[in-house]
Subunit: 217 residues, 4 copies
DNA sequence: GATGAATGAGGCTTCATTCAT
DNA sequence: TATGAATGAAGCCTCATTCAT
């Protein structure tokens, strides 16, 4: 009659502990004792359920990315088929309702970017996460171009620009939130994206389809 | 016969050592021994010229910001008075010719963002740096609005959007450069900024000053 | 309905697990988890059947010594009454057919010698084991002297010499087997013992006195 | 005006600390704190002068072996050219005056044998040490055979036997000194070696070189 | 100013042992 | 009996900082 296994719960607890501590102390600053305390567990347990601290970080990355991608895909599905609606959903999911609404996750994500500079393992996963987002954007952009909604242009460059803006908002929001006027991020990026994709503002389709510009070389 | 003081040079050496090491190991990963070695100095000297490691970081931040702001202001001056030209110069200085061209400084800047999450001192300086950039953008934007070149809108929101895009490009470039098509960053941001500011492509300044949108609430 | 006790079997399993692990990792290097795994049991069981890891070691020592002494006494019985035959049997039992044929037991025995340096408990049992062997040798030697087969000499010194050679072969065989020509150990020790005891070589009183011998058979 | 370097002395101190601690606690039982305390140094210094604990062990092995080989070679030189005298000197150096006279070194050597079972690095050096001794023995034996002093026989087997006896005496002396009658080791091994090599006892070289050997007094 | 040895606190990790089931 | 999770005390090692010269 063994104790019922609760490894999954414990691992989740520990990962959550790292999330909490890391958001204020970074990864290196999060000691295993800190993590254990934040998880309300004994220090030894961390290494009973994970081989090393780095493995907790990996699990945390996976959790953040998985959760975020799930939320994103759900939002995209809800947005329907219209490319612009999907693009807006993508932006909102990042800047209005999603990731940026969770300050801890935001801070951790910024820390992960810095960690990616040092650790190849972290970098691999981090880049994979960015790439997954980029890919979704590219698909949206291609669809928009195919539908004649977006001007024809290299979709990867445009996607990188939109994604970079999101990432940049994350950094600024995490470190200097006061610099961003409240609720300005998503609308601003939408306007910027429309400029990039030469989408005429919906309500006003008067002006002629002005020539393309800014063809991100 | 006292030897001529060389403190300034030594301090510069040490700061440079931190820059080198930090770009691949981050701040915590940069040990004083590492810094000394990169500076080609003995370890003891680091604490002779600086009271603490954190002070070296502070000096490094100051150096990066000072150098960058100097380059920026110089570029802005060279751009003349036209708001759009100044905006383009601002963008180019960040994404085409300036900071992003120095991978080490780029990596350090990203690390500093993460460090700012942990240390109030770093954060203060980091935010001040962002704010200085933001302020220059705001001035440009206001001038553009005043000149009727940019649509009227809350300049801080637009400035934050442009600055965030730049910061985001920095992060992505530092961690996943392959995701950004070569030379696409500055043109893309210019196009985005034009969209945000409703600037008609230069060759055509026919259209009436259409109503503003995207008033980042 | 109580299940039939299987403590003895479990203890044997655990002791065997320690034997396996210890032969390659030593006693301190053998974690209870290692032992349990090698015994194909759960970690908790080790401390259910033994109060402490040290107790497993004690049981292992006892097992090794008991088994070895049983084999030895059996070999001595089979050797008959002749002192020289009994001496040869003693040597063969150690160097030709017995302990040294089991690499794991050999390694463990060497580790036990080192362990005896640290732990009084281990030392007591280890010394008792050596003493038991020594005692059997002394009995053989005394019998040989009484029978006029061995020259009169202090039997404890001779016994210690023979026993030391055996122990030394164990160490060298366990750590540097290549240094010992194959099958040379028992013949060499027999020749040495004869030298010590001034036994004229029995078999050869025929042909030209010498002829080569000791050629590591 | 830097502090004069004393690294060599410090390293020697640390190695000596390990020698002291290891003789009673073994290698794993010798904590870095123990070593530092025994060396009367602060704990951090151990890792300032050595990269890892294992490196201290390596240095200790080298010291023991170097010192021992130096003493041995010196004794052999003093023994002159006579093979038997050299053989006796070899034995005395190990069992009468040399290594076995230093209980700490003896215990450490026994521990090293056990350590060699676990660590390939230790084993390599340990075997090299044994081999160096063996080689000297082989040279002596070959010279004796060439001079007609020793019966012709495979020298490596005889050398291994003699070396094993020495190693065995080390183990028994370190763990159960009481089992070895005082001052019996060297004489006993000399007698055994004579038996093995069929050396006629020196005093009587009257009789024809009778085949039989071993009538050691 | 400069050197590099010295210090000691603290981090990650391991592990014998205990415990809930 | 059996299981495997849980505990907490060390252990090895790193490192910012100090110090003797």
């Amino acid at each position: 009659m063994p104790r019922p296994p609760n490894t999954d719960q414990r691992r989740a607890q520990i990962v959550d502990g790292l999330l909490k501590v890391m958001s204020t102390k970074g990864y290196e600053g999060a000691t295993t004792q800190d993590i254990a305390k934040a998880a309300k567990l004994s220090p030894g347990l961390v290494h009973y359920h994970f081989q090393a601290k780095a493995e907790v970080l990996e699990a945390l990355m996976n959790r953040l990315l998985d959760e975020h991608l799930a939320a994103l895909d759900s939002a995209l599905t809800a947005a329907g088929a219209d490319p612009l609606a999907r693009l807006d959903a993508f932006i909102d999911c990042h800047l209005a309702t999603g990731a940026s609404a969770n300050p801890r996750a935001l801070a951790v994500w910024v820390s992960l970017g810095a960690e990616a500079l040092k650790s190849a393992d972290v970098r691999t996963r981090y880049v994979a996460g960015l790439d997954a987002l980029l890919e979704r954007l590219v698909v949206i952009l291609r669809a928009g171009v195919a539908a004649g909604r977006f001007v024809d242009q290299p979709p990867r460059a445009a996607a990188a620009a939109i994604l970079s803006t999101i990432e940049g908002y994350f950094v600024v929001a995490a470190t200097a939130r006061a610099l961003i006027p409240r609720h300005s991020a998503a609308p601003a990026l939408k306007a910027m994206a429309r400029g990039l994709l030469e989408v005429a503002p919906e309500p006003r389709r008067h002006a002629p389809p002005r020539a393309r510009r800014g063809s991100a070389s």
